[in-house]
């Protein structure tokens, strides 16, 4: 059977140029900024707003800003008693620079600063490999980070043993306190949250009611009332004459609050595990403890890692509320420094708050990026 080929194409059409919108800058602008009349108006309004605000903002933050100086006169205009020309307005970074150590460590004795620094170094050294999915020995790493590290840090920061000078918690402050509060909140809330979530899903009515009451009560009220409870009521609840440390009270308040929220996140994960997994574990003859630790929880927790990280972010931001029960976390100490006579200027509050906001932002943004990264790694579904 032969086939005669009647036509073979020997000349090809000339290649078309790519559409304008994909090739040139003007095409891109037309497609992305001026696709329709409505789009054009919106773009122009946004552009006008940017042109109006951005130069002033950059000028305020960087160009007009004062970067060096020993006291408030560096950031005051001549008619306010300083050296700057009248009408000057800009950030006073000299003040942040001058107070930087205080913002980081509070009133921690300056000659003992190696202790929090060492703790920070240990933290980074343990946290970074823990967060990298490819690093081996996650179990050992978790043990070191979640159990050994807190114990070592406790003795290192508080002192009073091994010849270390005792440093009262009232001297602690700044970013250090923010990080300690949120880290302890995280370390306590994870296991407590798991227990509460399991209790809430258990079939024992009394246990279940107790867990539901606790979770819903704590989730129904603002953190500030829980903190008030910890700082005002806790001493009343304990034996007469007790003098429970103020920092410890805040820690308890934050941990209680975080546990209730964590419990709900983990419950979401537990509910998402198909019933077959529970039944298969039962069929294998595993007891409750084995069923949970080997079959259900590993899957459930993996499922809700993004939710857990979001809870961490929320907790990190919420620690700033201890300012209200007059503790000096990062926000508290920055706010307290506004009243410091050495640096009272009209621009001090704004500068300090922008610095504190930026610090909080770095941590939270980093955590949310990490959460997104994990989410992408865990998400095996096909995207359209």
């Amino acid at each position: 059977m032969t086939e005669t080929i009647t036509y073979v194409r020997d000349r090809f059409l000339e290649q078309e140029k790519p559409p304008l919108s994909d090739s040139t800058a003007i095409g891109w602008i037309r497609k992305n900024l001026f696709a329709s009349v409505k789009d054009s108006v919106l773009s122009l309004v946004a552009l006008a707003a940017l042109v109006y605000f951005l130069p002033g903002l950059i000028n305020w933050l960087f160009i007009s800003a004062v970067w060096t100086g020993a006291d408030r006169t560096a950031c005051l205009t001549t008619d306010q008693g300083g050296q700057l020309p009248a009408g000057w307005n800009g950030a006073c970074w000299a003040y942040v620079n001058d107070r930087f150590v205080q913002f980081m460590f509070g009133s921690y004795p300056r000659d003992e600063l190696w202790r929090p620094l060492l703790v920070a170094a240990m933290f980074v050294a343990l946290l970074v490999p823990f967060l990298m999915p490819k690093m081996p020995r996650k179990g050992l790493n978790a043990l070191l980070l979640l159990i050994v590290f807190p114990v070592v840090s406790f003795f290192l920061l508080l002192g009073g043993v091994f010849g270390l000078r005792h440093v009262e918690t009232s001297l602690w402050g700044g970013l250090m306190v923010t990080l300690i509060l949120s880290f302890v909140g995280i370390v306590v809330s994870l296991p407590a949250g798991i227990l509460l979530a399991l209790g809430r899903r258990s079939s024992m009515p009394i246990l279940k009611t107790a867990c539901i009451t606790f979770i819903e009560l704590i989730r129904g009220v603002p953190l500030i009332t829980v903190l008030f409870m910890a700082s005002v009521l806790l001493p009343l609840f304990l034996e007469p004459g007790n003098n429970i440390d103020k920092f410890l009270r805040a820690l308890i308040g934050v941990s209680i609050f975080a546990s209730a929220y964590m419990a709900e996140v983990i419950r979401g994960g537990l509910q998402a595990i198909p019933k077959g997994q529970y039944e298969a574990a039962d069929a294998l003859g595993l007891n409750y403890f084995h069923k949970m630790t080997f079959i259900v929880l590993p899957q459930a927790i993996k499922l809700v890692i993004p939710g857990i990280v979001n809870t961490f972010i929320g907790m990190f931001k919420d620690t700033s509320l201890v300012t209200i029960i007059s503790m000096y976390d990062l926000l508290g100490i920055v706010k307290a420094s506004f009243g410091d006579s050495g640096w009272i200027t009209p621009v001090t509050p704004l500068t300090g708050l922008i610095f504190a906001g930026f610090t909080f932002w770095i941590f939270c943004f980093g955590m949310s990026r990490y959460s997104a990264f994990i989410e992408r790694r865990l998400d095996k579904s096909h995207k359209r």
Partner: protein, 402 residues
């Protein structure tokens, strides 16, 4: 075979140690839990009694009837320092509700706009909305409150500057100062009630008319001009009555007093800082929820509606949004609840909300247990009512499946 025989032969379940009996175990666990809880409560109660006795204090809510002795900057119901603690708490609760309601409305609008904006094809708008969300989502709300209160509102012109400006421009009625925004307050004269009744009648008539118009559209396919007639009913009717009654409304202007502005209506900087911070902070979360909701509606839905000949606006309004709402409502509820709870941050700037008023009473009277129970009770009730309402709304919106 032998095994099976042995099992069936005995006729009773194999002997298991009582230790492994699930029913017994469960009872034991629960008894232990109960004992631990009761023990803890008893221990705490015992200590409270002893601690109170040491401090020569008594427990109970009788103190609520004693004189408060402090002033509150913003009170929606008559209040003076001679009022009772109970009255002060009522003022605080109202202030909480006011700032929460205002915040929820603003946060929803801003969040909706920003969330839709993030999905815009317009590159600039999408980027700006992303920047907004990423900034506000990652900063503590308390810091945003301080930012407005100490960083922005405190830098507004002082009252003295306002007085000076008033000399140059004596006709000004609207002032922005670091002590708040002053504006004319409406004073309702006699006969204003009739206008309100007219407004009410107009609204009811508009609703009735809409129902009738819908029925008519279904029956005949013709739709009367609902929007215009409704506008006339709701706006023109009360306006006509207002003019007929002789305009029973006067304005009370803010005028300079000795140290401060007198009269008029003032929105304090505390309220403004809290309101702006709560709205903008929560809006960033709502924007993300809205975005996720709209993206959660399958692309095929909008394509199908275009295929049916709907215009883009109709497709969004009639097909995409109703489905997106189903995804949006549950997380939106928790954001509303968060906003209500975050309004307690008022205490940081001294806005007289429930927590701030309660904190003052707590400091004055030392009734910590009572005050904290009141707080918890009220907040839990507010949370409960809000979630009940949103659950009802959610059920109404939910897909009715067969």
């Amino acid at each position: 075979m032998a095994l099976a025989d042995a099992r069936t032969g005995s006729g009773e379940p194999p002997k298991v140690s009582l230790l492994y009996n699930p029913a017994l175990r469960s009872v034991v666990y629960q008894v232990v839990t109960l004992v631990v809880i009761i023990g803890a409560v008893w221990y705490a109660w015992n200590n409270v009694v002893q601690n109170l006795a040491r401090a020569n204090m008594t427990a109970g809510f009788g103190f609520l009837n004693s004189r408060a002795g402090f002033d509150l900057a913003q009170a929606l119901i008559p209040y003076s320092s001679d009022s009772t603690y109970f009255r002060a708490l009522q003022v605080g609760l109202l202030n909480t509700l006011v700032v929460a309601a205002a915040g929820i409305v603003t946060a929803t609008i801003v969040g909706l706009l920003v969330g839709v904006g993030r999905l815009s094809h317009n590159w600039l708008i999408a980027r700006l909305c992303t920047i907004y969300v990423e900034i506000f989502r990652n900063i503590p709300p308390l810091l945003v409150i301080f930012f407005w209160y100490l960083g922005v509102l405190a830098l507004l012109p002082s009252i003295r500057t306002i007085f000076q400006n008033l000399k140059e421009d004596p006709n000004a009625v609207f002032f922005i100062s670091n002590r708040g925004i002053y504006m004319p307050a409406p004073v309702f004269g006699e006969g204003f009630g009739v206008v309100l009744v007219a407004l009410l009648i107009g609204i009811v008539a508009a609703i009735v008319f809409t129902i009738w118009a819908n029925a008519r559209q279904r029956a005949t396919g013709q739709r009367p001009p609902v929007l215009w007639i409704n506008l006339a009913l709701v706006v023109l009717l009360p306006l006509a009555v207002f003019i007929v009654m002789g305009q029973p409304l006067t304005l009370d202007y803010a005028v300079p007093g000795s140290f401060n502005m007198k009269g008029g209506m003032v929105i304090g900087p505390e309220f403004l800082a809290l309101y702006l911070a709560l709205s903008l902070y929560t809006a960033s979360f709502i924007a993300e929820i809205v975005r996720a909701g709209i993206r959660g509606v399958s692309h095929g839905q909008s394509e199908a509606s275009y295929a049916l000949g709907l215009r883009p606006g109709q497709a969004t309004r009639l097909v995409v949004l109703p489905q997106a709402l189903r995804i949006i409502i549950p997380p939106l509820t928790s954001q509303y609840l968060n906003l209500i709870k975050n309004s307690s941050l008022a205490v940081a700037v001294g806005y007289a909300d429930l927590v701030a008023v309660g904190g003052t009473i707590l400091n004055q009277s030392g009734k910590s247990i009572e005050i904290i129970s009141i707080w918890m009770l009220i907040y839990v009730s507010i949370s409960l009512i809000t979630s009940l309402f949103m659950n009802w709304f959610n059920a109404k919106m939910a897909l009715v499946e067969r």
